[in-house]
């Protein structure tokens, strides 16, 4: 379970999260929507401790993320994150990209890591690309590789930060299909996205962020069907 209590986060004088309260339970798929600068992506990087917070508390399975005593490297093994920019490691083959962290962090044997890599890559539809370098892949394929790379660490949670935003329109579908697959398998996921149709289909709940505040959270039918927050109404009108 991920528990977020009154989290505040600033970059210098700019406060991007103004007291967020949110709980995500095991197996839930939460999507986060909102305009740019609403703080939705920042929240994800705070959850896995890539960014410090100024106030409040985030706990993952009871472990406080920003406590000094917390071993972040260990905690991050539980929480996979995939970014808008997929950050393929260009000097490693697709398979080696996926094997790197299991080998070096989890100290898996080469055979073990390789079996896992092939399994995860096959899972995301890249079974025939394991030995090529990422430079040879399309953006959609690289993004699916990044997802496989995160999954190879056997995380309990997956965070997706606008994973389709940097893709050509015709490549968005294949990545969303991969996310749908994960959701159907019961993976606990937080997806920051601009894909409203996707949010409507896969989410258990949808949260709307506006200027650092979570303005509304509800199951998709309710949030899209009967939006109460005026900013959300405006946002939905603009995206349709």
């Amino acid at each position: 379970m991920i528990e977020i209590e009154n989290v505040r986060k600033s970059f210098g004088a700019l406060e991007v999260l103004k007291g967020i309260d949110l709980t995500v339970s095991k197996g839930e798929v939460l999507t986060v929507i909102g305009g740019s600068g609403s703080g939705k992506s920042t929240l994800l990087t705070c959850i896995n401790g890539l960014e410090p917070i100024q106030a409040g508390k985030i706990t993952v399975d009871g472990i406080e993320v920003h406590a000094k005593s917390t071993d972040l490297n260990k905690l991050r093994q539980k929480i996979g994150i995939v970014f808008q920019q997929w950050n393929a490691f260009p000097h490693l083959t697709v398979k080696e990209n996926v094997m790197l962290a299991p080998r070096k962090v989890l100290k898996q044997s080469k055979a073990e890591a390789e079996a896992m890599a092939v399994k995860q890559l096959t899972h995301v539809g890249l079974g025939d690309k394991v030995d090529v370098y990422p430079g040879r892949l399309s953006g959609g394929q690289q993004q699916r590789m990044a997802i496989a790379r995160a999954l190879a660490m056997s995380p309990d949670y997956m965070l997706f930060d606008e994973v389709t935003s940097a893709l050509d329109p015709q490549l968005v579908g294949e990545v969303l299909d991969t996310l749908r697959l994960l959701a159907s398998e019961g993976m606990t996921m937080i997806c920051v996205t601009h894909e409203m149709k996707f949010a409507r289909e896969v989410s258990d709940r949808v949260a709307f962020f506006h200027q650092g505040v979570m303005a509304e959270i509800a199951p998709p039918a309710e949030l899209f069907g009967d939006p109460k927050d005026p900013n959300l109404q405006q946002f939905l009108a603009a995206t349709h």
Binding site: F83, N87, F89, H91
Partner: protein
Amino acid sequence: MFNYRFQWNQAWKRLPEMLDGAVVTMQVAVLSMVIGILLAILLTLFRRSGSRILSGIATTWVEIARNTPALFQIYMAHFGLAGLGLHLSPYQSLLLGITFNNAGYLAENFRGALKAIPDTQPRAGRSLGMSDLQAFRYIILPQMIRISFPTITNQMVWAVLMTSLGVTVGMNMDLYGVTQDLNALTFRTFELFAMAAVIFYVIVKIIQAGAWLISRRLFRY
């Protein structure tokens, strides 16, 4: 003027001694590069450490290495340190001086290469649970070496050529030192130094060809 009589035979007979010298030259150059690269990586880590003292050490090193004559650096390694009570042999002084120079230049090249690697690369590694050092070792370092590979090759060539400065600290086992001694013995100045120049040239060409082969093997992506 121009009544010098070339006696190539005299010089040619000395080729084996000169080739022995070339082996020593290569030895110094290779050693100074291997240690120099390791030191440059260390200096790069110093600069990234966030510690003022460590990055101060690295910056001072780089500044001296790049902004003073290599001759001065080798001289200091020999006579300067001797003045402080540390007596190094000419071979050791030459190796130390060139290594110091290599490390400084390479550290600066590495800094440039690092700028070409986006911060999101180590960040992706960190988000997979890797430590800072692991992200550096497995994600940044290989890319850094690839980007700076041409400048590493250049520095290797410089290292070979810099060995000729060893004569100023009494080095007489390397190619230039051997040539100098043979010249004092035979006075076939032009022939001997022309041959030395050709040997230097061939060594450099071999290095460049070798670098090309290595880069083709290592950087297939």
